[in-house]
């Protein structure tokens, strides 16, 4: 589903590369933790999958397609196949829960009828039944992140990228979010989650890819989190 072929990303010539010769394969339906300290290259990985940036060397394949060969007018179509969730939720503060999720469908031209039918289902999937008309500021952090997840999956993407989705949440709430992500993964969506939350990684027992200074230093099938040796933990 996602393949990195010896990918190097350099933001500017003087500093060391953000990703340095990374080769990685994520299969359809997999759940992968991307771990490592801040600045280890996790966010760069996600930006390259979304074609927010392009690789300096090497090739990034998403759903079998080299993203370097996707013309700019086709990039929106690439992104429709990928859902993204962030640490800071990024909800629209002046829209209700329903409207926030519906927004993702409106902007790609879904009909009102389809939206009315789909959004409540998705809100139920993430455990937000009956909160359609709440405003984001009336929700807890965990609930806000559920809205963000609902928005990311409402267009049924094949891939869900999560960049530190539990970074702002307490451990109990975080486990709730992980259950939601796991359920989405069970339904066949490939999930790549960047994190440095060791509790979560150790509990889930999923594939763990560890990045350090832009290189893959570990790739365990049912890995655990090993504290960052020599790197600074946030």
């Amino acid at each position: 589903m996602i393949r990195f072929d010896n990918v190097t990303k350099t933001y500017d010539q003087k500093s060391q590369p953000a990703l340095d010769g990374v080769s990685l394969d994520v299969d359809r339906g997999e759940f992968v933790f991307l771990v490592g300290a801040s600045g280890s290259g996790k966010s760069t990985f996600i930006r390259l999958v979304l074609k927010e940036d392009s690789a300096s060397r090497g090739a990034v394949y998403v759903a079998g397609q080299n993203v370097a060969n996707i013309p700019s007018w086709r990039v929106p179509r690439l992104r429709r196949g990928i859902g993204v969730v962030f640490q800071d939720f990024r909800l629209l503060p002046n829209k209700t829960v329903f409207a926030n999720v519906a927004f993702a469908m409106q902007v790609i031209g879904r009909s009102r009828a389809v939206i009315r039918e789909t959004v409540p289902d998705v809100l139920a999937t993430v455990g937000l039944e009956g909160k359609n008309n709440r405003m984001p500021h009336e929700l807890s952090g965990g609930e806000q992140q559920r809205v963000a997840i609902a928005r990311a999956i409402v267009n049924r993407p094949g891939i869900l990228l999560a960049d530190e989705p539990t970074g702002n949440l307490d451990p109990t709430t975080s486990m709730g979010i992980m259950k939601v992500l796991d359920r989405i993964n069970q339904n066949g969506t490939t999930v790549v989650m960047a994190t440095h939350d060791d509790d979560i990684v150790n509990t889930m027992r999923k594939r763990v890819v560890e990045l350090r200074n832009g290189s893959v230093v570990r790739d365990d099938a049912q890995g655990i989190y090993i504290g960052d040796t020599g790197a600074v933990v946030e």
Partner: protein, 304 residues
Amino acid sequence: MRLAFILSEIGSGIRRNLSMVTSVILVTFISLTFVGAAGLFQLQINQMKGYWYDRVQVTVYLCVDNSSEASCAAGPVTEDQRAAIETKLRSDQFAPYVDTVSYESQDEALGHFRDQFANSPIVDSVTADQLPESFRVGLVDAEKYEVINEAFSSEPGVDAVSDQRDFLEAIFRYMNWASVVALVIAGIMTFCAILLIATTIRLSAFSRRRETGIMRLVGASKAVIQLPFVLEGVIAAVVGAVLASATLYGASRFVIDGWLVNTFPQTAFISSQQVLLLVPALVVLGAILAGLSSLLTLRRYVKV
């Protein structure tokens, strides 16, 4: 669905940015008013050219007692000279250029003079023998005045060949200057309008960066992301263009229909209907102006 969505985005954009949108409307209004005024001056010049050039005559003045030209050294024109000039004017050689020839005697000249200066005290002191008799020559093509001038100005008995166009050209020169000034002002104001539209779009893009960021992530197309911004600028500019058109129309009704036509009844003025012809041009110009400047701005400030 997408159209409704884009329209609602435009509405919220304009509401959030009301003061900037208002200033865009006003600046395009002023600049397009000057563009339109320059256009009206040109229309008026063409109108007068078309009207007058058809009626312009070349006048061949014949010698009188007090003529000072060398060709008049022999004194006033003789019967033979007058007949020779008329024969030459009506000859086959000049047939392609000359349309009509009419003769004006000194008495007729005095009559015209009295009509023209009816209210002036100078009328009483002028007598018929001071005014030259002349041939009034209507031309097939008013531009071919030089042919007549060359052929007749040194003919014995001819005092001078004069073309009324010289006088008209002076008027047109002044009107051209006026339209150039209007165009310069229009240019400066248009430049202001472009900068202001760019700034407005920038502010608008900044205040909606959260929305556009999410739109990008969920795969909204470039058109859906950028169109609300472009249309916001275009709508403001079109409103400005409509205001400019209304102002020009009102001014033409008031100044031309209400005043100039009555004051100068012999002059052909453009009609208010012709002003209406300018409206689509101004609206399209405003829309293009806003569309281009917002597209250029968006390229820099709204990533897709």
